[in-house]
Amino acid sequence: MRPLSAFQRGEYARICQLSGPIGVVQRLYELGLLEGQVVEILGFAPLGDPMEIRLGATRLCLRKADAAGVLAEPYSDSQAHSCS
């Protein structure tokens, strides 16, 4: 498990745990970023922050500081559907 902000462009991540300021966590939940969901890391802004992820059909932009509170594990299709 590592923070979402530490993932590379093009990687897939399965969300394990959300923490951080309550406002951010609640907003992420509202947007459907729940534990167990898989997101694709689309990349980072030219100045290195924020980052862009894809969750289903939705593209989200979040600051690295906020993404650091989202713990996730690398995900690939071959992997088992469990969250360690």
Binding site: Y29, P46, L47, E52, L60, R63
Partner: protein, 756 residues
């Protein structure tokens, strides 16, 4: 015939669901804006006339949820609950969702179910869903959710009649949909809390108070029911956390779990996700290199459009103002009334209208960028830069626009949802060096830093003047966000919506709304301040012997005409000149009107205040003339040039003549004359003669930082709905400007002493 019944209908949806399009399609041109005390939110209201009903349609701001975290977001909840004194609770709520984001958007819909009001679900963008290969069974969806579901395509007007019928029959039935049931432990906690607080608190609010930790509802209820409620809520949350119902996760899990079960079999999507248009476009538009490049080009175009393209329209308004002024001038007898009309009212109205081209063009740009989905990308690209001073990427475009003019820039802050970020951006926007400061810079640089200095120096000084704004504005923002505007860091979780073709009607509507809002609400304040300063400069209009200045000037002008009649047709014939009168007397007669004008302004109320305040200006290296010109420039910065022209007896100088190619020979000569007069006058003065550059720089620095702009203050008043913020802006900027000008002069003078 029966009288139609009034129906209050609220329109609620996520951002980027086409909510505004639906609102416009339903209410057409019958729209108005409602303000709420204490918040910056504006609710749009429209009227829909139907056979049996007249709808009062309320367009609530786009939101992801009903979990308010600020007073602004609380307005939507209050309106939906009918807690607002101006508004009845809605008879029906239209929940609009995007067919291509059904799962995510239904989250808000299920929250609306808790309100106990009939809900109609409008599924928009069915064409896009079809294009992506999505098939949706609306009938089953309606059965499972327990609400009427209407597929629509708002931009083409498809499905609107069905939607209207569904709303009206829902109103007639009046039955609310079944709310999503939460895990048993949570419902039990809620029941216990309800017993504690009593029936006065609506169950909806109590549920929100429990689910939204530290949210507006919790704070509201605690203020009403006492601090014990906070402890009770906290204890309840801890108990829930122990039984696998952690807050806030439990709400998202419950609702999305419910939504997924509802959508099971209702939506059929192609097994492979299709690469959309947006995916391809974003590869370029958010690319490190290309994305940045395209962004810079777009911003340059936008800046150019407000800086240059608006010029012809502005010139047209200017010449229109002159034509009207001229017509009044020649059609009316000399007197205070004529002067009031020409120099107060017509100039004032002109000063209001002159902003319209810039505002309308900028809002056209912003509407297109927002409507097509690019605005969110711009915020994405610029966020890092702006986050250093506590703002977000959304502040970039308003601040950039402020380089042309703070008035459209401040209006553009409406793209910032977070109230505190928006306020901070509004307060620093006037620090950006706007185009009205340019004539002041150019005049002073031309007068004092051109001759005898290297040719690169004027350009560098001009650049430094702009740099002052770029440096001070982030510092002020940083300070504000840590003091006055301190609070919870706003969440910068931004949705990058799919790209769509902008709709012309929506764009035109935004342009019209922005222009109208400015003229109606800010225009009156601008006009009033123009008239006030006119009066202070006009009165008293008699000299110490009770003779009227306007009359004396008219006489002096008549004397010139007389003189010109005596002169031969060809003025270059020097022989004829010397034979009639000596040159000295001629020059005296010619200068008399300007001399009288200067004397009049000197003894006007504003002139007296300027002289009285001279000790205040002294440390900046200014005399009362400069001080008075600065005071007179309160309606607009560039006025300082004209006022300086009047006091230095070169006539009313048009600021445009300084920065632009001369359209009329006379104007340009006047501008050059003012530079000459400034140099001459200062050289004969012991202080300014010794430190002309330090004085010029101090004046420039003052103008770089001050808020001598009634229009900006009027717009701040209009956008913040309070007098506090414009007063605050004026005070902080003037203080900053004074201190900086003081330092500039004192350091400049000390440096001059060192070098010589």
């Amino acid at each position: 015939m029966t009288t139609p019944r009034t129906l209050t209908v609220a329109l609620v949806g996520n951002p980027n669901t086409g909510k505004s399009t639906l609102f416009n399609a339903l209410s057409g041109l019958r729209q108005r804006v409602g303000n709420y005390p204490g918040v910056t939110v504006e609710l749009k209201k429209g009227t829909v006339r139907r056979k049996d009903y007249i709808w009062e349609l309320i367009d609530l701001p786009g939101t992801y949820s009903l979990a308010p975290r600020s007073p602004d977001e609380m307005v939507a909840v209050d309106v939906l609950l009918g807690r607002h004194s101006h508004e009845a609770a809605p008879d029906v709520i239209i929940s609009i969702v995007d067919a291509t984001h059904l799962e995510r958007h239904l989250y808000l819909t299920t929250q609306l179910f808790d309100l106990g009001r009939p809900v109609v679900l409008a599924v928009n963008m069915i064409d896009l869903a079809a294009a992506q290969g999505l098939k949706i069974d609306y009938e089953v969806l309606s059965q499972r959710l327990g609400v009427p579901v209407v597929p629509i395509q708002a931009n083409k007007g498809i499905g609107l009649t069905e939607l209207q019928q569904a709303v009206e029959s829902a109103a007639a039935k009046g039955s609310p949909p079944p709310p999503v049931s939460f895990p048993q432990p949570l419902e039990q906690e809620l029941a216990q809390l309800q017993a504690c607080v009593g029936e006065a608190v609506p169950p909806f609010l109590l549920r929100r108070a429990l689910l939204d930790i530290g949210g507006s509802v919790e704070n509201d209820l605690v203020a009403r029911c006492g601090a014990t409620l906070r402890q009770q809520l906290q204890a309840a949350r801890e108990r829930l956390s122990a039984v696998q119902c952690p807050i806030p996760a439990v709400e998202a899990r419950t609702r999305f779990g419910y939504i997924r079960s509802v959508l099971q079999g209702v939506v059929t999507a192609p097994s492979q996700r299709l690469r959309t248009w947006t995916d391809r476009a974003d590869q370029v538009l958010t690319h490190r290199l290309w994305g940045t490049l395209i962004f810079l080009i777009l911003m340059f175009l936008m800046f150019q459009s407000i800086f240059r393209w608006a010029r012809p329209a502005m010139d047209l308004i200017d010449s229109g103002r002159e034509a009207v002024g001229g017509a009044i001038q020649s059609g009316m007898a000399e007197g205070p009334l004529r002067s009031l009309l020409v120099d107060g009212v017509v100039k004032g109205v002109g000063a209001v209208l002159i902003f319209l081209p810039q505002i309308v063009i900028l809002f056209g740009f912003i509407a297109i960028l927002e409507d097509c989905g690019y605005m969110a990308r711009a915020a994405f690209l610029m966020d890092r830069l702006m986050s250093r001073c506590g703002l977000s990427g959304k502040s970039f475009i308003p601040l950039l626009s402020s380089l042309a003019c703070a008035v459209p820039g401040i209006l553009a802050t409406r793209v910032i949802e977070n109230a505190r970020d928006r306020l901070a951006t509004i307060l620093i926007a006037p620090l950006m060096s706007c185009s009205a400061r340019l004539p002041v810079y150019v005049l002073l640089i031309g007068a004092f830093l051109r001759e005898g200095y290297p040719s690169w120096l004027p350009g560098v000084v001009l650049f430094v003047m702009y740099l002052i704004g770029f440096t001070v504005a982030p510092l002020v923002a940083w300070t504000l966000k840590r003091t006055l505007l301190r609070g919870e860091t706003p969440t910068f979780v931004l949705e990058l919506p799919p790209y769509r073709r902008p709709q012309l009607r929506l764009v035109l509507r935004r342009m019209y709304d922005a222009g109208r809002a400015f003229v109606v609400r800010a225009g009156t304040i601008i006009l009033a301040s123009m008239i006030l300063v006119w009066a202070l400069l006009y009165f008293p209009d008699t000299d110490a012997f009770g003779r009227s200045y306007p009359q004396r000037i008219a006489e002096a002008e008549a004397a010139i005409e007389e003189l010109q009649k005596q002169l031969p047709q060809d003025p270059s014939s020097s022989e004829a000149n010397s034979t009639r009168r000596d040159d000295h007397t001629t020059a005296q007669i010619l200068a008399e009107p300007r001399h009288l004008m200067a004397e009049w302004k000197r003894q006007s109320w504003l002139g007296r205040v300027g002289q009285w305040l001279e000790p205040v200006f002294q440390p900046l290296g200014w005399d009362w003339k400069l001080g008075m010109a600065v005071l007179a420039s309160f309606p607009a910065r560039e006025v300082v040039v004209g006022t300086l022209g009047l006091i230095y007896e070169v006539g009313d100088v048009d600021p445009a003549a300084i920065t632009e190619e001369p359209s009329e020979e006379g104007e340009h000569e006047q501008a050059a004359g003012l530079m000459h007069a400034l140099r001459q006058e200062w050289s004969s003065d012991p202080l300014r003669g010794r430190y002309p550059v330090a004085v010029a720089l101090s004046l420039m620095v003052f103008f770089a930082l001050c808020c001598q702009c009634a229009s900006t203050l009027a717009v701040i008043r209009r956008e913040t709905h309070s007098w506090f913020w414009p007063v605050f802006t004026f005070v902080y900027m003037t203080t900053l400007a004074y201190v900086a000008a003081l330092l500039t002069f004192q350091l400049g003078a000390a440096l001059t002493d060192c070098l010589t």
